[in-house]
């Protein structure tokens, strides 16, 4: 077991997390930059893919930004027909977000690159490690939700 009483071990774990996350996001950032898009664009299409027909408010909560920060990139995605924003049947104030066919392809292409990185790393680290990695990340994420 990792001895978290040991400062050097603490530092190693934190450093690994820092560089690990950085490596993971670097790949996508690079791809996005080539298309003149930002991380927010990716997150938007990612969450719409994951939770189809979510509302703008729900998306804001997932992203953890203000609506002003979301406004421009989301509008752009709608303008270039990657995202559809359709009024809800049950509550016409709400706009439900969904990916267009193009949008779905775009989101997949972004995701594929990151998955390729994960696959490489997973192959190296092995099944047990991967399950543990996911379990810890999920547990960490849960604390977040509770904190909000």
């Amino acid at each position: 077991m990792l001895d978290l009483k040991n400062p050097a071990t603490q530092q190693q774990a934190m450093e690994a997390f820092f560089f690990g996350y950085q490596a993971f996001t670097a790949k996508a950032d690079e791809m996005l930059e080539r298309r003149g898009l930002s991380r927010v664009h990716q997150r938007i299409v990612f969450f719409i893919a994951r939770y189809p027909n979510l509302s703008v408010k729900e998306l804001l909560a997932l992203l953890g930004v203000t609506k002003q920060a979301l406004n421009i990139p989301l509008r752009q995605l709608v303008e270039v027909h990657l995202v559809n924003s359709v009024a809800s049947e049950t509550d016409k104030r709400k706009r439900l977000l969904e990916l267009t066919d193009d949008g779905a392809r775009f989101e997949q292409s972004l995701r594929r690159e990151q998955v390729k990185l994960l696959e490489r790393v997973f192959a190296e680290a092995g099944e047990t490690a991967v399950n543990g990695w996911l379990a810890v990340n999920l547990a960490l994420g849960k604390t977040q939700v509770l904190a909000d």
Copy 2:
């Protein structure tokens, strides 16, 4: 093994990483904000604690920013006597960075909060999961270093 061929599994893994990292950094961000400091300040003291007497150039490489971006927060840390910048004996162009006693206490207090979160999560996830989590993060980090 996580089936990375399955889009839903891909999305789950990516989302867990996203929220996990966010939860991990949120605690420290909050503490830093109270003291009027930023993440860069934390990273600086973190890396100085991890690699005492590292040079400015080495620190820049670890942080992955320009020297202009490092300049102001580092200067601030020196001004408030959390960091000492001392000319190297062997090469007087280099300034070697070290934490003052206050700086060491400050870095520890930041780290302790993050470690508390890790401990809670580790207790929940168990030893095997934790080792796996670390192994995958380390493997991810390694890809980064190679890419640079």
